[in-house]
Amino acid sequence: MVNHEKTDLHGITVHTIETKKYKTTSFILQIKETINEKNVTKRALLSYVLQSGTKDFPSSKELRSALDDLYGATLNADLSKKGENQVISIRMEVANEKFLSNSEPVLDKAFHLLSQVLLAPALENGVFKENIVKKEKRSLKQQIESIFDDKMRYANKRLLEEMYESEPYHLNVYGNENEVDTITSKELFDYYQEVITNDRLDLYVIGDISTNEMIEKVKKHFCFPENRSEATVTDEQNREEKKITEVKEIFEEQDVQQGKLHMGYRTYTTYSDDDYFALQVFNGVFGGFSHSKLFINVREKESLAYYAASRFESHKGAVFVMSGIETANYEKAVKIIKEQHEEMKNGNITDAEFEQTKAMINNQVLETIDHPIGLSEVLYHNVVAGTNRTIEEWMDGIESVTKEDVVKVAKKVTLDTIFFLKGAGTNGNENI
């Protein structure tokens, strides 16, 4: 289904996917390391600094001009948490020259530029340029603050902080606001050197390309430090997970129109487990789709919410429920949500729900891999989990799940924490 080739070079794993589907070539560079208190903020700042200048283009303006000249090649870096990892993704997308009226050799230039973003940043006195670091600190702080302004994201962040209080997973992927200013250019540069020496690196190249040519280009353009470690094995994750004795309930009040109800469940199942597929189906029946129990019961039957959904974090093995409700409807909504989970534990899953869910998951995967970034994300799961599943195996895995499997998983799934952001003094008495 997907023509995926994997080549381990010195220090970097190159994944090539040859396809004629797209009018562009996509590069996705994944840089992975375990998330930890000590480096979380530095790592976030690093992702900002790397995209702000290179040796040849030592300012954001110059770098952006170079990209514009490459027919508007895009470059962005962002951060994500995959299980206990903090991953920096540097993505570049460049037009395929065959669609341009005056063909220009953009691919090789793009390759070079990407390698420079990673390996030849803009320096001054042997460390990152002071003015870049200063600017990007401000941007990062603003990014962290903006989470507060988006109430859905804020509630999600608060849920994670409470639920994983004593685990690294509680850390915000953008780091701590208070720490940002304390990081010096020197410290950041030292950390950067650790990153390019030790972190696991995966480069995905997707488009109308030739694998051999891409391998040659990586060899030509990516010059790693000599002491670069080849340790590309994924660490065995700490699988000891907290057993829950009682549900933690946290309330916070703000002047908002709509209450945000977020609930976190532990599932004791992750991507690398055999019952991972059953958990996928569980999440789909529970709240993943518009035919799911949460949507039907919270929204369609009771008109309590515009959205009521659940999502699943594959590597942490958590299910998160979220819904926007009237503050006064808190008890009612929580009760309905808990009931849906009970229903599933008791095996009350109709054939229709079950089959629809499988069909939808199947559809979702096929759609995801139509998109270059989606495709790279699906393939990257294997790197994070230390598995080697093809997309066909993945889909067969879903297909073979039985209702009994789902019930078994539903019984493992345990509610850990409820976070509710209440509206202040705006209880819905407007009877509409």
């Binding site: 589907k21 009018k23 941007s139 603003q142």
Partner: protein, 429 residues
Amino acid sequence: MGMKTFEQLDETLHFEELENGLKVYVLEKKGFNKTYATFTTHYGSVDNHFKPLGKNEDVKVPDGIAHFLEHKLFEKEHGDVFQDFSKQGASANAFTTFNRTAYLFSTTSDVKKNLTTLIDFVQEPYFTEKTVEKEKGIIGQEIRMYDDNPDWRVYFGLIENMYHHHPVKIDIAGTEKSIAKITKDTLYECYETFYHPSNMILFIVGPVNAQDILEFVKENQSQKSFKEKAPIERFFEDEPSSVAKTEKIIEMTVQTPKCYIGFKEAAPTRKGKELMRHELCVNLALEMMFGKSSPNYEALYEEGLIDQTFSFDYTEENGFGFSMLGGDTQSPDELVKRVSNMVEDFKQESVSADSFERARKKKIGAFLRSLNSPEFIANQFTRYAFNEMDLFDVIPVFESLQANDVEEVLQNHFKKDAMTVCQVRKKKS
């Protein structure tokens, strides 16, 4: 069946206008798993004053009704159409904009079955008093969700500032009060008027056989009868070219203020190629003035007035048009001052061939990138078609533009008296 080949892009578009007036387009995308289809009516939140089909008197309908209708079409006597799609492995959705309402699905199997479901559910309305009442709770929560969203508030606040009368200033979902007035009869009246096939476009993109799909749609439509097509009469009050309000501050529970600056288009009456040229020119002007590689962007970023949320855009259709730029900022007033000076300064200089060329290259690259996305193609093609433009003309039109075209929009669009500002600021406790 008609066919149009875009050699440079390696795409072929098939189309046909059916007897009942429905326009059907099919774009074959080989190698993709997904088929994406949109069924769109040229009817949105601005169409609130019109002459109902077959009547002599014009009516004004409650704010938010087009969006309400969008929600309600999914409900049928046998239940919810979402479920029919998901039984067929497809995911369905819909959205309402200022001037169109689109229903869509995406699927990797059973394309024809899902296509039938899509066409039939949109063409078979079923509204009852009871289900209309029930929906008011759900949409009420949707409205509240947007009320808490500072990005939406600042965006809409800016549009409200610009317009004296044009209904583009009315929130697409209406208010809890306005939707309370909606009844099943008004829904039917809007439906009858705006959901005639001659006011609609069906677009299918994916790994399909165009000929086969077109025949299939024709067959479906030939089994249904529709009223004679009649031109739709919509009414809009005269809109002055000046802005209604030059500034507004909204207080909310936020940490970072948000600030947007807008320029109202004085003569938003263009159609077809002329509209496309104009849109692309304003967007090029914005790119040259404030794109990430511009000296202005660098200065604003360095001064700490903007961050990565900074963006800009121009849009024009159906009697309204505006550009807007802005994002999160710690110093909204300072940002306004700097941006308006930068615009004035830029108008004084002549447009450099170099930066024009760079902006154009960037835009062409971005357009090619969006053609990877079936969603983009279907949604944008439809939007363009309602405005008598052809999406696949974008690259040739870009290539035909000259630096002095940008010069012209700079002088005509970015006028001081067409400027308005909206800010979201932290609520004082």
